[in-house]
Amino acid sequence: MFRIFESIGRYVLLMQKVFSRPEKMQIYYTRIVREMEALGLNSIGLTAIISVFIGSAVTLQMAITLESPFIPQFMIGYATREVMILEFSSTVVALILAGKVGSNIASEIGTMRITEQIDALEIMGVNSASYLILPKIVATVFFFPFLAIFSMLIGIGGGYGIAVITGIMNPMEYIDGLKYCFYTSEIWYALTKMVFFAFFITSISAYCGYYAKGNSLEVGRASTQAVVVSSIVIMICNLVLTQLLRT
């Protein structure tokens, strides 16, 4: 129990260092753009593949489960949209990104720690925490909501595609379902969640890497720890935000 509080304390102190005034903004802009490419653009492919298949599978499942003369067919499109917007595109995509981006960040920063690259930055007088972590946080907080929107579109498109390909339902009914009881607040809810998830994935993974010590085994351990802790925090955060924003 004491170790948890110690870790939270160290995490807060690290964040204080991360959000202190940067040395030179121009350098940070360049780094933010680089990180957007490395952490955001490079995740588009994975997000697209997973979203299209989950969107298709959800549509199929709904079509099979809701097969009843008392339930109109457009409800399949409606249910798919709700699943994709409310939970999949933000929470599940965030869990997937915690695996991909989180382990990447933890191992990158952890390797920099054990090969003394972070010490080298400190010797130069650079605030290493801010220089290394802040651009990653800004990049993901800005870019991940776009990934969520992309995931919603691709997932819903996948559902439409499977309706057309298999003929399990009338595609026009699917589209009617997508329009049924649509509130833009649901999109904002999903994007708000994604902003929080992006912050936690990046900051927790960076924390695990930043305090790695020893050898490559420790870097591997830090990387695993980053994914596990980020995933748990995402689930807790999802619950809290759902309670706060939807009730």
Binding site: K24, I27, E116, Q117, D119, A120, E122, I123, M124, G125
Partner: protein, 252 residues
């Protein structure tokens, strides 16, 4: 000048540096030698501020570094260059970007001025054609030379080197030693080198400090070291077969 006064450093209750006092002069190559685990890397890292000492004080010229706050230390660190054992170049940046980083962060020079300085430093270490190479594309000697270029780009007053010759062949080691020695003289830097390499000791060791089990055991110059009657120092210096033969010749 860098001075350590009665410094003590412990890790988890184990004393690694025990009441060490030593002074390193300006414009000369000061070497810290000792067996693995003797505490010489901890001493170097304490001097450079990567470890906070438990007791004692560290002075950079007349400034007591160990009592300074983060902001004041940051100001001094702009005068400090360090060459790490593995080079510690940023993997994601090219050689030129690595060397230019301190200029980008701490100067208001134009891009042309910065590149001019980078070109000069890379030329100084004979890496004229390595600008666009990444650290993973460099040999061990090139990594060390790029690290030296980065360390001197801000015209430091203090240069720290942690085993600059480790993993290098004898000829490349001599090149690195001569480079550090020449730079020290050229810019009148206080250079402190942590090494195992007896060739470095004999070639560039103007002041040598021998650390044994966390204590300062002996200090002197490369002229004094061969004639010392300190048993632990002799065991260390004449450990290799080559050195034993050399000592035999000296005695004869």
């Amino acid at each position: 000048m860098i001075k350590a006064v009665n410094i003590i450093k412990s890790f988890d209750g184990r004393t690694v540096l025990n009441d060490v006092s030593v002074e390193f002069g300006t414009g000369q190559c000061n070497l810290i030698i000792g067996r693995s685990g003797s505490g010489k890397t901890v001493l170097l890292k304490s001097l450079v501020g990567l470890h906070d000492v438990d007791e004692g004080a560290i002075y950079y010229d007349d400034i007591c570094y160990s009592t300074l706050d983060f902001r004041a230390r940051k100001a001094i660190r702009k005068d400090v260059g360090m060459i790490f054992q593995g080079g510690a170049l940023l993997d994601a940046s090219t050689v030129a970007e690595n060397v230019k980083l301190p200029l980008d962060l701490f100067t208001d020079q134009s891009e042309e001025e910065k590149m001019e300085r980078v070109n000069y430093c890379l030329h100084r270490v004979n890496l004229d054609h390595a600008h666009n190479l990444y650290p993973s594309e460099l040999s061990g000697g090139m990594v060390k030379r790029a690290a030296i270029a980065r360390a001197i780009v801000m015209n430091p007053r203090y240069l720290f080197c942690d085993e600059p010759n480790s993993g290098l062949d004898p000829q490349t080691s001599i090149v690195i030693d001569n480079l550090i020695h020449d730079i020290t003289k050229e810019y009148n830097i206080t250079t402190i080198i942590n090494t195992h390499d007896m060739n470095s000791v004999m070639e560039i060791g103007e002041k040598i400090v021998f650390i044994y089990e966390g204590n300062k055991w002996w200090e002197g110059s490369n002229q004094d070291i061969l004639h010392s009657d300190n048993q632990e120092l002799n065991d260390f210096v004449f450990a290799s077969a080559m050195a034993k033969r050399a000592k035999g010749n000296i005695v004869k």
